[in-house]
């Protein structure tokens, strides 16, 4: 026990003497969380403060284009800039000045009305309600295309949501025009409400509750756990560098000649770096609770969750340290450990769902993400932050994180024993 205590004290001294390293260890994760949360905040806000500027070319000037325009304006996502010509809009978008241009073709409203009227009259004549079968002019109708120009750098998800949105608006306009055409055929009184044109089916989002309060996820509750976990796992870089440094200084060689087990040496590192993880986590929670509101971000709600959050951070920290110990045991130089460690954390984060939610990943990657300790940690954090989970709900994830620590540490010890067997 004394050897473990001495190892821990030595690690504490080594860390406390490296002021630059300490600053990086504590300040950089905070900078990371603040930066990412500020960037991602807009995507979580319902009231959009950062409207996307789009170009609008209206050759129709009719009811349909007005409806689409109003629909876009109502969404509060766009700042609509009118342009006179198709070619000017296209050039600006393709040069990357704007994400999108929408071109409404000429006579779209009148042609749509014409088409609907023809269809309605044709249908009514089949029922014998029309006095005379109208002559078919369908062949005279020209198909209309709403043209969308996208910046080539625009993400597919944004393209799809725009296309779906406009499609929905046009469908709604078509439906309303059809109802209107029927109404004009059936009654001469335009004010008489025969059809209810409002949507019959609507959506209601139900979110979990804590007591009577609804839990509404915001950017902070999504970003703080994800990026805190990312920062916790980044501990593998300084930890592995610390171990490689001991090898190059010759102190590891000296320790091999001492009657001390490798487990004790690793134990000292584990205690100190785990403390670093927990302090880091505490600072990040503090930032979320106190600094974010000052920056105009939503405050992090940790009420009644702090013990569980620290429990998750403890186990996530252990998993990260296990990985750091393994990397530090295997790597021979800092040139091996630092870039590998940093890149590997990014890969684990990507697999774990820190960048992109797991459910939209390809099937194979979804399966793979189950192997990422960051995925387990992130789920545990989301359980506490967003799903109002209790300690029993966390047991599967915490068990996995702990097993990961045990297995990586065991591999480190076995690897070291085999490599240095005499």
């Amino acid at each position: 026990m004394h050897k473990l205590w001495a190892s821990t004290y030595k690690e504490l001294l080594l860390l406390s003497r490296d002021i630059g390293g300490l600053a990086i260890l504590f300040v950089m994760p905070l900078v990371l969380v603040v930066t990412i949360t500020l960037i991602q905040d807009s995507t979580f806000r319902s009231i959009n403060e950062n409207k996307i500027p789009i170009l609008w070319v209206d050759y129709d000037k009719g009811e349909v284009s007005k409806n689409i325009y109003d629909g876009l304006a109502e969404s509060k996502s766009f700042n609509i800039i009118g342009k006179e010509s198709d070619s000017e809009a296209k050039e600006l978008v393709f040069k990357g000045k704007y994400q999108l241009a929408i071109v409404i073709p000429a006579n779209l409203s009148s042609e749509l009305e014409k088409k609907v009227n023809l269809n309605v009259e044709g249908l009514l004549s089949k029922f014998g309600l029309e006095e005379e079968t109208p002559p078919s002019h369908k062949s005279d109708l020209e198909k209309k295309e709403v043209i969308l120009y996208f910046d080539p750098a625009t993400q597919m998800s944004f393209k799809n949501s725009i296309k779906n949105g406009i499609d929905k608006m046009i469908f709604k306009i078509e439906t309303q025009t059809i109802y209107k055409a029927f109404q004009s055929q059936i009654t001469d009184d335009e004010t008489e409400a025969i059809f209810d044109t409002e949507s019959f089916i609507t959506f209601k989002e139900v979110t979990p509750n804590i007591g009577n309060n609804e839990i509404i996820p915001n950017s902070v509750q999504h970003n703080v756990p994800a990026w805190t976990l990312f920062a916790i796992f980044f501990i593998i870089v300084p930890l592995s560098i610390n171990m490689v440094k001991e090898k190059s200084q010759g102190t590891f060689v000296r320790l091999r000649t001492n009657p001390v087990s490798y487990l004790t040496v690793l134990g000292g590192k584990t205690v100190i770096y785990l403390a670093v993880c927990l302090i880091q986590f505490g600072l990040m929670l503090g930032i979320g609770v106190y600094l974010f509101p000052v920056l105009g971000l939503p405050s992090l709600d940790v009420s009644g969750k702090i013990p569980l959050l620290f429990l998750v951070a403890l186990f996530a920290g252990l998993a990260a340290i296990g990985l750091g110990l393994l990397l530090g045991t295997i790597a021979r130089t800092q040139e091996q450990s630092a870039p590998f460690g940093a890149t590997f954390v990014v890969i684990l984060a990507a697999l774990g769902g820190v960048w992109v939610p797991v459910f939209i990943m390809p099937k194979f990657m979804q399966t793979l993400s189950n192997l990422s300790p960051m995925n387990w940690g992130l789920n545990a954090f989301y359980d506490v932050f967003l799903r109002d989970a209790g300690i029993l709900d966390l047991i599967p994830e915490l068990t996995l994180l702990f097993l990961f620590f045990v297995i990586t540490t065991a591999i480190s010890i076995v690897y070291n024993e085999r490599k240095n067997a005499v």
């Binding site: 001495a6 004290y9 102190t251 060689v253 000296r254 320790l255 000649t257 009657p259």
Partner: protein, 247 residues
Amino acid sequence: MIQISHLSKKYKNNEDYSVMDLDLKIDEGEIFGLLGPNGAGKTTLISMLSSLIKPTSGSFTINGLTFQKNANQLKQIIGIVPQEYALYPTLTAYENLYYLGSMYGLKGKQLKEKINFHLEVLGLGKFSNKKLDTFSGGMKRRVNLIASILHDPKVLFLDEPTVGVDVQSKNVIIENLKKLNTQGTTIIYTSHHLNEAEQFCTKVAIIDHGRIIIEGAPNNLISQYPESHNLEDVFLTLTGKALRDHA
């Protein structure tokens, strides 16, 4: 005390053996010098005896113990002074020694007294709270030595303990090693300083190409070669004057 039998070591990717079928007996209380040109196999032999590398074949015992069966017991009775400083540069001399002494199971007042005693004896008392990275080479060598003798080892291995140090530091180190020896510590050391070895060692072995060429008390070896005036003459006679650079 130390009984080596047919000990060999061949490193991966090396064509030749670094230590070849070596037999040696070192008695208790001796100051035994392992001398030889660069690449002769001295450090490899000491590394095997101190459990840092695994022999390719052969065996050895120290005080009747082997690393295979009694690793911790054996590590507790030996001390190793490596060629590198093998200390933490950002820790003070005292902090380094406190940690390394603790690894031998020393603690509390006993450990503190031992550290302070050795620091004083080796002239580092007033520097105990200074960081290692502010120390000169000679001062680091002395701390390196203290780190290996805090637990009063029965056998002390030293790999070039006086390399790159000033005359005063060298003198302090050698004098303290002699004192340790009189207190019962068997000393096995490698060196390129043949005059130093001649004065210091009770017995030496000259190694070349992984084999012991000759072994005995320095004066006996010198007398075996009438044209030699000192150990260096014997050494050059036996190992030749050709350069022994190796990569």
